[in-house]
């Protein structure tokens, strides 16, 4: 199976080519089926690869061909198949498959159906390249590929201005992050003379390298990760990315692409461990992002934006885990989050679909009667997000918090607990506003309908994953299957700490209580109006305004950076128009004028030409005569 690993990205690529080239004219609605089948085959192959890795083949390199070769230095197009990448392959292909199936229903009435599946397939291809690559350069190819597809799919409805601007914003912010990634891989090449993961980490062990350089590499790579994974300071594109179709939000902006930064750091863990303060920076940025985004999510009214800020916050958790030296917990949370957050998005999409495009939760309410499947599955996902026992989010989040506590990062632990309270609150609020209470818009409510089977089946599959994945691979805490599986790869130098049972139970109790508090406050506010949300909003005026306006970060960026960039762009434009184009135009104008002048010489009268010839001859004779006579100097 492992030797066939390159077939995994080949299927989505083939689906991309088929739907992109033939979708419009011939395949039509079949593109969805073809693309889903292709990704389904990839998922089956990924399961096979996963089982083989599980069977003991812990590190295999499958080389397709040599890509760059200059003397000693070479970069191959080859896949590194180890526990980490096999887990990622599995998560990406399985979640993608379910979302592809769902999209067949969600995008059914869209004119760009074939285009949607072409780009979504291309995205899966790029994402698989990203997680399979055995070197930083090939990973960068996938990294850029997913960025491009993200841009294309956010701007899928480019006829409207908002998606177009959101796509541009996402692309530009990702480019800023990519700049960091580029600095990182160039420095890696200069320091190690190789871009291969295995080689780099081997040389890292062999020789003592200057701390400063390693820190630079790690900070640069992490900066790239903040762009792709929507962490501070480059997070603000992700909420705007919700302008894209909902399956795109679920696949790219919740389950897969945004986690590639986490994967990058987890993959580079040997570097980060020895590189001075870089892990601390990762942890601090992750924790601040987690609580920062969670507070914004408290007051959003667009159901997808709540989920978007929640994603930013959960990604912060993953970086927090990486920062406290628990990459396994990060990957664990990545996997469970992929399931329950994809489910939350798809559920939101189902609601939006059922309401004919309405996303404002203030116009929803009481929908659990109309959409039972969507409601129950989203309830499972919401419980997982709020880390309710025994759903999957509980196990992974508990592990992150346990690692933060166990490694002595008490401040980060406290931030994590507070964020857990906030998370439980906003998810309760979102689900209540959507599914319970009195219908606030009767017209919408009357026309609401449950989504078709093709959409609800993926929801149910994801709900099963959201419910049992945690206990299946995460029990017992700190020693579960995922630890035994991933430890050989990512935790080479991390201090192993298996806390006592009492500590584990105590920590778990704290998490559960945190979640319960959040849910209780949510119920109290939205069910019994004690305190009434509207009254609270009024009394907390300034704070509420800051939260609703998202801390004015967008305005700050506009003011500090975007305006400056616009000014530079305007100046460049003026320079181009007036100086560069001006020079070219003036030159052309001068030549044309010269031609106009010289044109008059061609009178068309033969006599004139003859006269000119004779005059020239005479001139030559006179000069020659003067020359011969010595009048003109020799």
């Amino acid at each position: 199976m492992i030797s066939l690993v390159w077939l995994i990205p080949a299927f989505p690529l083939a689906a991309f080519l088929a739907s992109g080239l033939f979708g419009r004219r011939w395949l039509g609605r079949m593109t969805g089926v073809i693309a889903s089948a292709a990704v389904g085959l990839s998922a089956l192959l990924s399961i096979g690869v996963f089982l083989e890795v599980l069977g003991g083949k812990t590190q295999t390199v499958v080389t397709l061909y040599r890509w760059i070769g200059v003397g000693e230095f070479s970069v191959n197009v080859s896949a590194l198949v180890d526990p980490l990448s096999s887990v990622m392959l599995l998560v990406v292909t399985v979640v993608s498959f379910l979302i592809f199936v769902y999209s067949n229903g969600y995008m059914e009435h869209d004119a760009g159906f074939y285009r949607f599946f072409a780009w979504l397939s291309l995205f899966v291809f790029a994402m698989l390249i990203l997680v399979m690559a055995d070197n930083y350069l090939l990973m960068f190819v996938g990294w850029e590929g997913v960025g491009l597809c993200s841009y294309l799919l956010i701007g899928f409805w480019f006829e409207r201005p908002a998606p177009y601007y959101a796509a541009k914003k996402a692309f530009v912010m990702n480019r800023i992050g990519d700049w960091g990634y580029t600095i990182g891989i160039i420095t890696i090449f200069l320091v190690f003379g190789s871009m291969n993961f295995v080689d780099v980490f081997k040389r890292l062990d062999e020789s003592a390298l200057p701390q400063g350089t390693l820190t630079l590499i790690c900070i640069a790579l992490f900066f790239g990760a903040t762009g792709k994974s929507a962490q501070l300071p480059l997070y603000s594109w992700l909420p705007d990315a919700m302008e894209g179709p909902t399956p795109v939000s679920a696949l790219i902006h919740a389950a897969t692409m945004v986690t590639s930064g986490v994967y990058l750091v987890a993959r580079s863990m040997p570097l980060f461990e020895v590189a001075g303060p870089s892990l601390q920076i990762v942890g601090i940025v992750g924790a601040i992002t987690a609580i920062f985004a969670a507070t914004i999510a408290l007051v959003q009214f667009d159901i997808k934006r709540v989920m978007a800020y929640s994603t930013v916050s959960q990604l912060g958790y993953m970086f927090l885990a990486l920062g406290v030296g628990a990459p396994v917990a990060a990957i664990f949370h990545l996997a469970t989050h992929a399931f329950f957050k994809a489910l939350l998005f798809l559920g939101s999409g189902s609601v939006i679909h059922g309401l004919g495009g309405e996303q404002d939760m203030r116009k929803m309410g009481g929908l659990h009667r109309k959409m039972p499947v969507t409601f129950w599955t989203m309830l499972v996902a919401g419980g997982a997000l709020a880390a309710l026992f025994p759903l999957s989010g509980f196990w992974s989040k508990d592990e992150i918090l346990g690692a933060a506590f166990g490694s002595g990062h008490l401040v980060l632990y406290a931030i994590g607990i507070v964020t857990a309270v906030l998370t439980a609150f906003y998810v309760t609020r979102a689900l209540w506003m959507t599914f319970y209470g009195e219908p606030r818009d009767h017209h919408l409510y009357d026309h609401a309908h449950e989504s078709p089977r093709v959409m609800t089946l993926p929801l149910m599959a994801l709900a099963v994953g959201s419910a049992v994945l945690g206990v299946a691979i995460g029990y017992a805490p700190e020693q579960g299957f995922i630890h035994q599986f991933l430890n050989p790869v990512v935790e080479a130098g991390v201090v192993e700490h298996v806390p006592e049972l009492a500590t584990i139970i105590a920590l778990a109790l704290v998490s559960v209580v945190a979640g319960a508090i959040g849910i209780a406050v949510g119920f109290s506010m939205y069910v019994r109006h004690r305190p009434d949300p509207a009254a609270l909003t009024r009394s907390a005026g300034p704070i509420y305004r800051i939260l609703v306006n998202k801390y004015y970060i967008d305005e700050l960026y506009d003011h500090r950076f975007v305006e400056g960039a616009r000014a530079i762009a305007g100046a460049s434009w003026a320079f181009d128009i007036h100086i560069i184009d001006g020079l070219a135009n003036r030159l052309g104008w001068a030549l044309a004028m010269g031609g106009q002048g010289l044109r008059r010489v061609q009178t068309g009268i033969v006599g004139n030409y003859a006269l000119t010839i004779v005059a020239g001859l005479l001139l030559v004779l006179v000069v020659y005569g003067g020359y011969a006579a010595g009048i003109v100097g020799r």
Binding site: R599, R600, Q602, T603, G604, I605, V606, G607, A610
Partner: protein, 103 residues
């Protein structure tokens, strides 16, 4: 008696300037061609005269005259061809009226 070289050169120069003046002042294309012939033959006369006076055994000057004949013949052929086709286009032989290619 021998004719001095100066006489040949004088006749040659006279012929040349007559031809030159004809080319400049006449309007009829055929006459202009004839005047060009006159100039060419003036040059031939000078060449033969100098060849006779200073020429060594191989008579290079006279050989050059043969080349000029050939070129003159070719020039007349081409020139008359141009005049004919111009005449077919517009029935004039006055060169001042043929100025479509004015810039």
């Amino acid at each position: 008696m021998t004719v001095p070289l100066g006489a040949y050169v004088a006749v040659s120069a006279a012929l040349f300037f007559i031809g030159c003046a004809g080319v400049l002042v006449r309007r009829n294309a055929v006459v202009i061609l004839m005047c060009v012939e006159l100039m060419l033959n003036a040059a031939n006369l000078a060449l033969v005269a100098f060849s006779r006076k200073y020429g060594s055994i191989d008579e290079r000057g006279s050989v050059f005259v043969v080349f000029v004949f050939v070129i003159a013949a070719a020039e007349v052929a081409v020139g008359l061809g141009i005049i004919l086709s111009a005449y077919r286009n517009r029935p004039v032989v006055n060169v001042d009226e043929i100025h479509q290619m004015k810039g």
